[in-house]
């Protein structure tokens, strides 16, 4: 096992990874920006180094500074968390060149699976259904022809996309030109690659994803599904497992197919297969995330399997010590993302407690929300024997959670879990738009 790991991230995920390392007896190295001097992850790590200015491009995205810090501190591995450098093949390759382990897939896999158009071609050969669509379209003209072939409405998506950027819904031919130019421009500025592809717009649909763990010895397991249909502008707000829209039979079938697919494509590490689930119960493969997800905690609460620890073990070449049959998926778990609505300084924090209540946060006394980073303050996750118990527990916990001094979305989350359609499990991707 590695004796020292550098965590190339901030916020609640850096704290989450440091905790896992501490449990494993691994020393931790934190890096931080000038804006994060007083952050929790800085205080928790065994060693902490400031690597630059408050803008992410001056610090958390500075590949060379992070690698130099790891080498000087004597770390053997780097955990990128999610966001920042977690899906950056160039960084993973630089780590490898410097004799450091990048905790995640190898750069070649990252490149293969990071390009959505290529990934779909790969997945098409594994038995999973892929949304009808195109490879990268090179011009507006080509896009128009392809859209007519697939049939409107269609989605325009960035080949290198993620996080909901570079995506446009096109309902008719008239909208295509504007949408094409906007999405291409957005993709170019966000990912440095303006190429787009088209796919059939599945409507109404739910966003259901499967959590995968695979080691380098060819073992792969699926740790169940997550329903992430509650989104606003393609940003997830609330996630639950198991999805109330998937029957036990359906789940068993899709898990078998997904595990099979992951083994066939030879993926190693923690990953997520994202699907759109239509009204007829068909799973349409969308994309694969080759990193830890924000919402990984609901899976952990349901299965009792620590995903971060397993990411580290897999990176150290330790084989999975459980099989698909050993994965317990009993009960239910829900996560509410607690976001800051604007900047502020924490005056008082009260965290709910009790059996199966977890609040993963980076907040401590005096924490300041700066405009430089993601507004995620923490994740409230609860689990229970069934969905009803979990919902009750979530309401109690949300009411008890106090983050004084920073405007948050706690009340909005309460309204969601009180919504009849949500409590009945009857919701899809349009839910937030319809409220």
């Amino acid at each position: 096992m590695f004796s020292k790991i550098l965590i190339a991230n901030r916020g609640e995920i850096a704290v989450r990874i440091i905790r896992a390392c501490k449990e494993m007896g691994v020393a931790t190295v934190a890096v931080y920006s000038e804006a994060d001097r007083k952050a929790l992850h800085v205080a928790l790590a065994d060693e902490s180094y400031c690597i630059g200015g408050p803008e992410a491009s001056e610090s958390y995205l500075q590949e060379n500074r992070i690698i130099s810090t790891a080498l000087l501190a004597g770390a053997q591995a780097i955990h990128p968390g999610y966001g920042f450098l977690s899906e950056n093949a160039h960084f993973a390759r630089a780590c490898r060149r410097n004799g450091l382990v990048f905790i995640g897939p190898d750069p070649e896999s990252m490149e293969r699976f990071g390009d959505k158009a290529i990934l779909k071609e790969i997945i098409r050969g594994t038995g999973l259904s892929v949304i009808p669509g195109t490879k990268a379209v090179l011009s507006l003209n080509e896009a128009t022809q392809a859209a007519e072939r697939i049939g409107y409405p269609v989605m325009l998506k960035a080949c290198a996309g993620g996080g909901g950027r570079g995506i446009r819904l096109v309902r008719s031919k008239d909208e295509l030109e504007d949408a094409y130019l906007q999405a291409s421009g957005e993709a170019l500025s966000a990912f440095g690659d303006g190429s787009l592809y088209l796919e059939k717009y599945i409507f109404p649909a739910r966003h259901v994803e499967l959590q995968i763990l695979a080691d380098e010895y060819g073992n792969a397991v699926c740790l169940g599904d997550r329903d992430c249909s509650l989104q606003r502008r393609n940003q997830k707000l609330l996630e639950e497992t198991p999805s109330p829209a998937v029957s036990t039979e359906q789940r068993k079938r899709i898990i078998e197919l997904a595990v099979d697919a992951v083994k066939k494509i030879g993926y190693v590490g923690a990953g997520t297969l994202e699907f759109l689930l239509d009204r007829e119960g068909n799973f349409w493969f969308m994309e694969m995330n080759v990193r830890l997800q924000v919402e990984h905690c609901v899976t952990e609460m349901l299965t009792g399997i620590d995903l971060v620890k397993w990411q580290i073990r897999i990176a150290a070449g330790i084989p999975l010590n459980f099989t698909q049959e050993d994965v317990m998926m009993k009960g239910s778990a829900i996560e509410c993302r607690i976001n800051a609505k604007s900047c502020g300084t924490l005056k008082m924090l009260h965290v709910p407690g009790g059996l199966s209540v977890r609040f993963d946060t980076c907040l401590i006394d005096g924490s300041t929300v700066s405009p430089y980073y993601d507004p995620l303050l923490g994740k409230l996750i609860v689990s229970g024997n069934d969905r009803e118990e979990t919902l009750r527990k979530m309401r109690v916990s949300l009411c008890e959670l106090v983050i004084d001094g920073i405007p948050t979305n706690i009340e909005e989350q309460l309204r969601i879990v009180d919504d009849e359609r949500f409590t009945a499990g009857n919701y899809d991707l349009t839910f937030m738009g319809s409220r």
Binding site: F2, A316, G317
Partner: protein
């Protein structure tokens, strides 16, 4: 820095798996074959690990690189950089050979001397250069080391020396053999002044250097697997016509027989030396 200090849990490190990155590289990157495990290691990886293979084999290290890894940043001040040997015996081809070696190694002589700080402990330091006629001791090497010890006595400084040598330089004949006596006398005067001399024997330390200042240190350390001896193994075998025991002339055998005090891997040398100097600091004792 952080506002507060959390208590540190004392969890033992989980067992199993790799403790560092498996050897991987970019296409076309040059490699070096490890004589111990016979694996090819990408150069960037080897350099990042101070020229130590993952199997523990210590590759030979150039004097300047060693100084950089062992001393505190910017603390090394070189002494006698321009002192070099002539050709006192007019040995045929010596002048040309030494000219080529100077260009190839980038050094004027087979030892680099100076003052430095190791872990904030001031000392005099000499490091021999394996790339310069395998660190052979000519009159300039002996003179530089002698002068360094005399400087150390004058300024009451401990001496740390990294030795790597094939022995006395045959092209300088008796003059290079005389360096054994001269350096030994300087070491003795340094010792009589109550000052600490620590030698680190690296691969290979043989011949006249072993028979003089390398083995005269108060504390003798060695790098793992280093060849340490007087006459070469092949010469002994040919002369005695007997098979040599396993591990003959290795640092481990030398330590087993009491001729070295400890074997210190490269990764721990700086800390080890700093602690030794600190413990023997006469100012601290007074």
């Amino acid at each position: 820095m952080a506002l507060f200090n959390f208590l540190r849990p004392k969890n033992k490190l989980e067992e199993g798996g790799r403790s560092s990155a498996p050897v991987q590289q970019d296409a076309g990157e040059p490699e070096e074959n490890c004589p111990n495990c016979h694996k090819d290691i990408p150069l960037s990886r080897l350099w990042a690990n101070n020229l130590v293979c993952s199997c523990g084999y210590h590759f030979r290290m150039k004097a300047r690189q060693r100084i950089q890894t062992i001393t505190d940043k910017g603390s090394f001040h070189e002494m006698y950089p321009r002192m070099k040997s002539g050709n006192p015996l007019n040995f045929p081809g010596y002048k040309e050979k030494i000219g080529t070696v100077r260009v190839a190694s980038g050094e004027e002589e087979a030892v680099v001397c100076g003052t430095a700080s190791i872990g904030r402990q001031r000392c005099c330091l000499f490091v021999m250069e394996p790339g310069f006629m395998m660190g052979s001791m000519g009159s300039a090497v002996g003179e530089k080391i002698t002068l360094l010890f005399e400087y150390a006595v004058e300024h009451r400084l401990p001496v740390v020396g990294f030795t790597v040598s094939g022995g006395a330089r045959m092209q300088e004949g008796l003059l290079s053999l005389m360096q054994m006596a001269k350096t030994s006398a300087a070491v003795k005067r340094h010792s009589d002044a109550g000052l600490l001399y620590t030698a680190v024997l690296t691969d290979p330390t043989t011949g006249g250097v072993t028979a003089s200042f390398a083995m005269e240190a108060d504390i003798i350390l060695a790098e793992p697997g280093a060849t340490i001896g007087f006459a070469g193994a092949r010469v002994i075998k040919q002369t005695t016509k007997k098979a040599l025991p396993e591990g003959f002339q290795t640092a481990e055998t030398v330590m087993e027989h009491g001729f070295a005090d400890s074997i210190v891997p490269r990764s721990g040398q700086k800390r080890f030396l700093a602690e030794l100097i600190k413990m023997h600091n006469w100012r601290a004792i007074i």
